[in-house]
């Protein structure tokens, strides 16, 4: 029997056992769909996090006061000392390093913003003019903190804040009170939405000196540094550590992390997560495979006399094996295809429900899902097909 006839005949058989076939196809399809949807979800989460983190800026290095690692610790901890402050002076030294393109010290706090009878609490960032290019922020009106005039009382408003206080859109040049001081609005940030859980539309930015005064602190919250290039990131990190160690009496009491490292860690974790859920989903495919084997074994038992007849008509064992094999192939092919469609539908629904989540199933997952379906189906059919082919024709004809 040639390939085409084998495929045609087995296809007709699959179609004629409608309920049985539909159930197997459904089991297969659900397994494949689970793989596709779950990997889409995992991949979407990964792309979301990576995208959010990349939107912070490029080639970033962060300096935080205190050590993040617990190993070894710093000696001061045992004596109940707090780590040394990270100061503006530290930031200035870092700014002179050759690997550093620009830097922005950062202080964060909350203060009351009042103007024209309106009052609300806002998150205040204290920084310098370099914050804008480092964080890839954009202005919709006016200008950012002017370089070299850190001592002047300027304020940049987030888009939502600007709209709330100056609904007429004319915020630039207006005066506004933050805490106890009066500030001149120099610019308004373009709407950016949320990024890493931080909504830059509802912040205000003031010069770092004013912020330190406002919050009565000498210590910086962070120093954001942009390296000159990607290859400069690691040298910059090493140089920063070195400089700060020297300035802090030989103690490493700051944490220097690179955006790349964080990104790579997130990427790794979320990839592992995606693989994990794909693996769990694949188990359902294996279960579907066992179902296929079970149903094929029943089919062999049911069609014993038919197998006997085929043998009597002169079908060699190989033909019979191939017929059952092809049947399983059709079932898993249909299951894989329908599952792929279902999975993509599911991913589409997820994208519809959560537009910020790029839940596209990765190609490898779709291929792996369908391939696993085919493979399990085919493997599951080996035993029943072999059993059918081995049947003794005389016994098979009598239905035994």
């Amino acid at each position: 029997m040639n390939l085409r006839d084998t495929l045609t005949l087995s296809f007709e058989t699959v179609v004629s056992y409608r309920t049985r076939s539909l159930l197997i196809v459904l089991a297969m399809a659900l397994g494949v769909a689970a793989v596709v949807v779950l990997t889409a979800l995992g991949e979407g989460a990964r792309l979301y996090v990576v995208g959010q983190f990349s939107s912070l800026g490029t080639n970033l290095v962060f300096v935080l006061p205190g050590r993040a690692e617990t190993s070894g610790g710093f000696p001061g901890a045992a004596l109940g000392q707090t780590p040394r402050d990270l100061t503006l002076e530290d930031a200035r030294f870092i700014g002179h390093l050759p690997q550093v393109k620009r830097y922005a010290p950062l202080n964060v706090g909350v203060a009351e913003l009042t103007s024209g009878g309106r009052l609300r609490e806002v998150t205040v960032l204290g920084s310098t003019s370099e914050l804008l290019p480092i964080r890839h922020m954009k202005l919709s009106q006016g200008s950012f903190l002017a370089r070299g005039s850190e001592r002047s009382a300027q304020i940049v408003l987030g888009s939502v804040i600007a709209h709330e206080f100056f609904p007429d859109g004319k915020a630039v040049g207006q005066r506004i009170r933050l805490g106890d001081s009066r500030f001149l609005v120099s610019g308004v940030l373009a709407p950016q939405g949320e990024s890493m859980g931080f909504n830059s539309d509802e912040i205000v930015i003031i010069p770092i000196d004013y912020a330190q005064e406002l919050f009565n602190t000498q210590s910086l919250f962070r120093i954001l540094i942009e390296a000159r290039s990607r290859t400069d990131i690691e040298p910059a990190r090493a140089a920063i550590r070195h400089v700060l160690k020297l300035r802090h009496d030989g103690e490493e009491d700051v944490t220097v992390i690179t955006q790349d490292a964080i990104l790579a860690t997130f990427d790794r974790i979320l990839r592992a997560l995606t693989l994990g859920v794909a693996g769990i989903a694949a188990i359902s495919l294996a279960v579907a495979g066992i179902l296929v084997m079970n149903v094929m074994l029943v089919a062999v038992a049911q069609r014993t006399s038919e197998i006997g007849l085929l043998k009597a008509l002169g079908a060699p064992a190989a033909d019979i094996r191939r017929l059952f094999f092809a049947e399983a192939l059709w079932l898993s092919l249909a299951g894989g295809a329908i599952g792929y469609a279902l999975g993509n539908l599911g991913a589409w629904v997820i994208r519809l429900a959560y537009p910020q989540l790029p839940a596209w199933p990765p190609n490898w997952a779709s291929v792996a899902g369908i391939a696993t379906a085919l493979l399990t189906g085919v493997i599951a059919s080996l035993l029943p097909a072999a059993r059918a082919a081995r049947l003794d024709p005389v016994l098979a004809l009598s239905g035994k």
């Binding site: 040639n2 038919e306 007849l309 085929l310 043998k311 009597a312 008509l313 002169g314 005389v394 004809l397």
Partner: protein
Amino acid sequence: MIRLAAITRVFRMGDQEVRALNGINLDIASGEYVSIMGPSGSGKSTLLNVIGLLDQPNSGRYELDGRDVTGLSETERARVRREKIGFVFQSFHLVPRLTAAENIELPLMLEGIAPAERKTRVDAALDAFDLKDRARHRPAELSGGQRQRVAIARATILRPTALLADEPTGNLDHRIGAEVMELLEGLHHAGTTLIVVTHDRELGARAHRHIAMRDGEIVADEK
């Protein structure tokens, strides 16, 4: 064309050995019409299965058309079966999912004949067996006589040299059975060797050569 020499077929039933065929020697010439009769358990069906290469003897030698087919591989035996043997069964053995035409087409498919030629040959067979208006019907929609006609059409579509019928009228009433026998005898007249296994004396008597079996041995062979 069929030459059996000292054919023995032993079945094991628990710890007991049953000699279904015990040293059978039998020559059947091309174009003969033979009936094999005997009580149930006499080995007549086993003999038919051995002749049809469905069953293999434990010992002895079987020549078909001058060729020793005793030691053939499974695949080789399937090929010989396909090309030289046609089976007709008491219970018809039609594939319930397939239409009459598709059932008749099965051996052509197994032989690997192209679809266009298959169609012409199936159409011719449907014509010859008066099944033209039943071509698209499934076995469940056919009468017993029609089913057996489909089975015979299928058995003869590859023009086998020998037609082996095991109780071909066993599931049919007398009148329809007689029609089926006439059909088989017509094929015999056209040159096919016809071997009919039956325990129906009247049916057996119609053959030109009568073989009687008992306990795995041939006890009478009359022409």
